[in-house]
């Protein structure tokens, strides 16, 4: 009796913890949502480095106010992303949130954004098409481009310059790789290429033998859109199985997290064409300045991954817009969102502006993997595709007719 009474009291006092500590007038809170746990931890940490690079550039202040970064962690699952976003918004009271990192998370956070109209959400690196293309949220902005835009120029390059007529695809089974495959095939099929087989594998797959067996013998190349450990596992097993078809890389298949992996992959990866929002050998002064600033962050890669770049660009845009409105979000962020919508600025990778769905129009880089002078692998810049918009230059009504991305769309067997 007595024991339970005390237990109840203890519980009760524990639960009436202080709610909502409001930020003081001289600080501004910005939520930072990334994957600090689960299979994408390495990517999330690099995303954080990118965001912190942007904060460091302004010496941690914006419009005379001190920036306070409140971090939230997800494990790349939509549930956890929404839970982390809720904590940042409802408990920590952030009015501005930068994130999330992964495709399905972005779709979920966009849905959540609709229920919090006075909070401003700026994407991290999530790149699913429908986060902004269909049913967008008025208060969700994406200054990083989507996965289909990242593929701009690759399909044409593979067909015309590399001479690949038939390509099989291997990609992870969720919204971001669907978007990547869509972006590649939109151009490749238009140029006259064929994709006889598409394989979709679950995230974190270890055994690719059945996938490798299903790839037709007579393809000219394999388009691989896998990330991190999945890419390393597939490429290793494909090589061991005696596969010899050349590769075409998705944006995160040949990024630094994969290129720096130890092993025999070097020979397989060399010469792989890819496309994405960044290129390692970009020698534009703005990019070089960004790389130098990024290197100052603890634990930095030899070259910033596209996650560092995406979070940097989105955080930079946030800070620029906040500066324009004097750090004032007391009006439910209305002024801030106007500033964001009109914002156009020079990033390390060229000019970025937003379309009517608040999705970025930006330069995309066509690259090829080469060996640097010190033996490390780099994405050499082949050419820049200027100012790619979300409909890949196709008129909007025509583009919408292509339908939503999924496992079966597009198709050109």
């Amino acid at each position: 009796m007595h024991r339970r009474t005390l237990l109840a009291l203890a519980l009760f006092t524990g639960l009436t913890a202080p709610s909502m500590a409001l930020a003081a007038d001289d600080t501004i809170k910005i939520g930072l949502l990334a994957t600090f746990e689960g299979p994408f931890t390495v990517l999330g940490e690099d995303g954080e480095r990118g965001a912190m690079t942007a904060v460091a550039e302004t010496n941690g202040t914006v419009a005379g106010k001190k920036i306070e970064i409140v971090k939230g962690s997800s494990d790349a699952s939509p549930d956890s992303a929404v839970r982390a976003a809720r904590k940042l918004v409802e408990q920590d009271g952030v009015k501005v949130l930068v994130g999330p990192l992964s495709g399905d998370e972005g779709l979920a956070v966009k849905d959540y954004a609709k229920t919090k109209p006075d909070v401003t959400f700026i994407n991290g690196t999530s790149a699913a098409q429908d986060t902004t293309l269909r049913n967008p949220a008025e208060n969700f902005f994406r200054f990083s481009t989507d996965g289909a835009q990242w593929m701009a120029g690759l399909g044409t390059y593979a067909f015309n310059d590399k001479g690949y007529k038939k390509v099989a695809t291997v990609a992870e089974d969720y919204s971001f790789p669907y978007t990547q495959v869509f972006g590649f095939m939109a151009e490749f099929c238009k140029a006259g290429g064929h994709v006889p087989s598409k394989s979709w594998v679950p995230i974190g797959n270890k055994d690719f033998s059945s996938v490798i067996a299903a790839i037709p013998e007579d393809v000219d190349a394999i388009y691989v859109a896998l990330g991190g450990a999945d890419a390393v596992n597939f490429l290793t097993q494909y090589q061991q199985a005696g596969g010899s078809a050349p590769l075409i890389g998705g944006s995160i298949t040949v990024d630094q997290t994969v290129l720096t992996s130890k092993g025999k992959l070097k020979d397989v990866l060399k010469g792989t064409p890819s496309a994405g929002p960044t290129a390692d050998t970009n020698d534009a002064p703005a990019w070089k300045t960004f790389v130098d600033a990024y290197e100052k962050q603890p634990g930095a890669f030899p070259s910033p991954s596209l996650f560092a770049h995406g979070y940097y660009v989105n955080m930079k845009a946030t800070l620029l817009a906040l500066d324009q409105v004097g750090g004032d979000v007391s009006d439910g962020g209305k002024k801030l969102r106007e500033a964001l919508s009109k914002l156009s600025f020079d990033t390390p990778t060229g000019k970025v502006s937003l379309d009517k769905n608040r999705n970025a129009v930006a330069d995309i880089f066509l690259t090829e993997v080469t060996e640097g002078s010190d033996g490390t692998l780099l994405n050499k810049l082949v050419k820049v595709v200027p100012q790619v918009n979300q409909t890949l230059g196709i008129p909007e009504d025509e583009f919408m007719k292509l339908g939503a991305v999924n496992r079966d769309n597009p198709s050109c067997p």
Partner: protein, 342 residues
């Protein structure tokens, strides 16, 4: 099963307070009044969420504490109910979604969960201890991968989104206060049911089977049937929690029923203590608070380490979890007043 028989009327009339227990009354009043002091975040994301996971861990405590059957498949059972709500009700993923009203969806979802739970039980009751754990882990893992790769029913990796809690009596039940009371109602009902059930004939029989199945079999009890029925009851609890979970998240995907979540529930039950139905709720509150706020204490790089260390410390100090810890502290508190000096 008490063998002492007492003549009718010889039972001293207990007053209702003694029957329920003063602690329960105070706890109930505190929880009912909690929304007066708590923010919306604490109402849903901490209290509501803890109660949902508390009920899930309670369904495990029912099996493990009274039946001696350790299961890792409780989240799978809850997931079946959650997916059933998404499939039979309405969602915005353009897959299935029959649009049934909530009052038909919920009984179907809970029944599906309870029957699945009984099936899982029927498969695993012939094993003991670690083997039960392995079989249920295998079932949980298989279900997770099946859900992730099946598009016709489970909609693959994305799962279902846009699932709304019902609106009736003019109240949107996903608003913080109504949702909190909904969770509180379910938690209180489940808690009372398990407490009552543990003292019922069935509950006593189950505990006797746990302690000595061979003896019970010799006495003429159908051991397997009792165990499977316990799984069925646990399935009802887990199914109800699953319905609330899908209303809470507004979505369900394979990530909801992952192996990590299954292990979380086991941790919650063990941390809280398996000796009394209040244990899972205590464990849920501790674990959810840790998972929510650890990142603020130690930053993004090490917060999972901190969670692990705290949970390890609790189990190290008290193998019975927090309830056992309380049992150890209490004698010291009682003697404190008798001791002289500082």
């Amino acid at each position: 099963m008490s063998l002492t028989t007492v003549a009718d009327g010889a039972v001293p009339q207990q007053n209702w307070l003694d029957k329920i227990g003063a602690g329960h009354v105070i706890l109930a009043v505190a929880l009912v009044l909690y929304p007066l002091v708590a923010s919306d975040f604490f109402l849903t994301q901490i209290a509501g969420y803890s109660m949902i996971f508390g009920v899930l861990a309670l369904s495990l405590m029912l099996l493990a504490g009274y039946g001696g059957m350790l299961s890792l498949a409780q989240i799978t059972v809850a997931g079946i109910a959650a997916y059933a709500v998404a499939i039979l009700g309405s969602n915005n993923s353009n897959v299935l979604g029959f649009g049934w009203p909530w009052w038909t969806v919920v009984p179907f979802a809970v029944a599906a969960a309870a029957v699945s739970s009984a099936l899982i039980g029927w498969i695993s009751v012939r094993t003991e201890g670690i083997y039960t754990l392995m079989i249920t882990l295998a079932i949980a893992t298989a279900t997770f991968y099946f859900a992730q790769q099946n598009y016709a029913i489970f909609n693959g990796h994305s799962g279902y989104a846009g699932i709304h809690a019902p609106v009736f009596w003019g109240i949107d039940w996903r608003n913080p206060k109504p949702f909190y009371y909904l969770c509180l109602g379910l938690a209180a009902l489940s808690y009372a049911a398990v407490l009552y059930g543990s003292r019922s004939t069935f509950g006593m029989t189950l505990q006797a089977i746990r302690d000595n199945p061979r003896r019970m079999r010799a006495l003429g009890y159908h051991v397997t049937a009792h165990k499977v029925f316990a799984w069925f009851l646990a399935g009802i609890l887990a199914g109800l929690a699953g319905v609330l979970l899908v209303w809470f998240n507004g979505r369900v995907s394979p990530g909801t029923i992952g192996v990590d979540v299954a292990i979380d529930i086991l941790i919650i039950a063990v941390i809280g203590g398996l000796r009394h139905p209040i244990g899972p709720f205590v464990g849920a509150i501790v674990v959810i608070l840790m998972q929510t706020f650890a990142i603020d204490i130690v930053g993004a790089e090490r917060f999972n380490t901190l969670i692990g260390l705290v949970l390890l410390a609790i189990v190290f100090v008290s193998p019975d979890g927090i309830l056992g810890l309380w049992g150890r502290i209490k004698p010291h508190l009682a003697q404190g007043s008798l001791r002289a000096g500082p």
